[in-house]
């Protein structure tokens, strides 16, 4: 019996006998192909790709969690006291970053040191830090609002790239947003 429903509104182009023979041939094709599968190596390739993708995502997530843990309280405090002006290190950044312990940071990370930093600790504390390091991470765009930058509510949840100067123990010292 043909697999086409008898209530089909389309006039059948084949006789019932032809339909039956065609169905048998199609059943044969189905049986001959039902055990076919993608090549075995494809699964291994995809599993490797999956692990690589999630290793990268995990590292990015850990950086973001670190930034959130250390910087969110500072940004919340800044916003709560109504700080609308940038506290920039621009006039001070070069002298501080010229000190020996900072000399290799830019080279190691490949990050430009020309943009101004926002001090999160006193300049004295930053200058006294023996082993500072620069890290790069994605932070919520809404953090810009704490520094007087207008943020579109629709994009507040988006991520912006930032560089963080942190102490050896991970304490945030300064940061700057990257274009």
């Amino acid at each position: 019996m043909s697999r086409l429903p008898s209530s089909s509104s389309v006039q059948a182009a084949l006789t019932p006998e032809h339909d039956n023979v065609l169905d048998e041939l199609l059943d044969n094709l189905r049986a001959a192909t039902e055990s076919l599968a993608a090549p075995a190596h494809l699964e291994a390739t995809l599993m490797s790709a999956f692990k690589a993708h999630h290793a990268k995502s995990h590292a990015a997530k850990r950086r973001s969690e670190f930034i959130t843990q250390w910087f969110a309280p500072g940004f919340a405090l800044a916003a709560s006291v109504g700080m609308s002006a940038w506290m920039v290190l621009a006039p001070m950044a070069q002298p501080i970053l010229d000190q020996p312990q900072f000399a290799s940071i830019g080279v190691e990370t490949g990050i430009s040191t020309n943009a101004p930093f926002i001090a999160l600790q006193s300049l004295e504390q930053i200058a006294l830090e023996p082993q500072p390091r620069l890290i790069e991470a994605d932070v919520p765009r809404m953090w810009l609002a704490a520094y007087g930058v207008s943020v579109n509510p629709e994009s507040a949840g988006d991520a912006v790239r930032a560089e963080m100067l942190v102490s050896a123990s991970g304490q945030p010292l300064a940061m700057r947003f990257l274009p």
């Binding site: 599968a37 993608a38 995809l46």
Partner: protein, 207 residues
């Protein structure tokens, strides 16, 4: 009727997005077979079918596909993605691209696929099945899609309409024409088979 449980698919997809390699592995094993077989019958090349399946699952793991569970089941979605990738591949290599408006008219030139790309590789050891597969390659792609989904994967008219982005009437029409074209291409085989099995007076009735 879907071949996999949609609820389980959704659970695996959620776990996969959370980083579960096991979930991704299970999703792959559940869906690679039907997708591969559809791609294989659709394009006639084992290598291309494998490439397409790989591309589908790479897009899935990179979360670039944006599957919306409120709009359908994962299997249908993956079939649609596979079909679209095959269409892009086909358009890149095809010499004759029919006008979309003419796809479902009575113009019989649109019912025959462009086979000038080269000889088909032999894929099946079953000769009768291989003959049907070769005949399938000679049917226009938009008819072939519907025939494969309906006859090989038991998808409903509604599911096929959603995958192919056409209405149900068009699915019925394409399926009917596809079967008619397939019969026309395989007719000599029918007659030969009938001649060996059927008494003379019944042979005349079939012809």
């Amino acid at each position: 009727m879907p071949l996999t449980d949609p609820t389980q698919d959704l659970t695996l997809l959620t776990e996969m997005r959370r980083g579960s390699a096991t979930a991704f592995e299970q999703l792959y094993r559940r869906h690679q077979g039907p997708l591969y077989r559809f791609a294989l019958l659709r394009c006639g090349s084992a290598a291309t079918a494998a490439d397409i399946v790989q591309e589908v699952f790479l897009a899935l793991l990179n979360d670039t596909l944006k599957f919306d569970p409120t709009r359908g089941v994962l299997q249908g979605f993956l079939f649609g993605v596979t079909r679209n990738l095959l269409l892009k591949q086909q358009e890149a290599t095809r010499r004759y691209v029919p006008n979309n408006h003419a796809l479902d008219t009575d113009d019989t030139d649109n019912d025959i696929a462009d086979t000038s790309a080269g000889p088909l590789e032999k894929l099946l050891t079953n000769e009768a099945a291989e003959n049907v597969r070769n005949a399938l390659q000679q049917i226009a792609p938009h008819y072939r899609d519907v025939l494969i989904f309906y006859e090989m994967h038991d998808l409903s008219y509604v599911e096929i309409a959603h995958i192919c982005n056409v209405d149900i009437g068009t699915v019925r029409s394409r399926l009917s024409r596809a079967r008619a074209k397939l019969f026309k291409l395989l007719r000599p085989d029918f007659l030969e088979a009938a001649a060996h099995q059927t008494p003379t007076h019944q042979q005349e009735a079939i012809q």
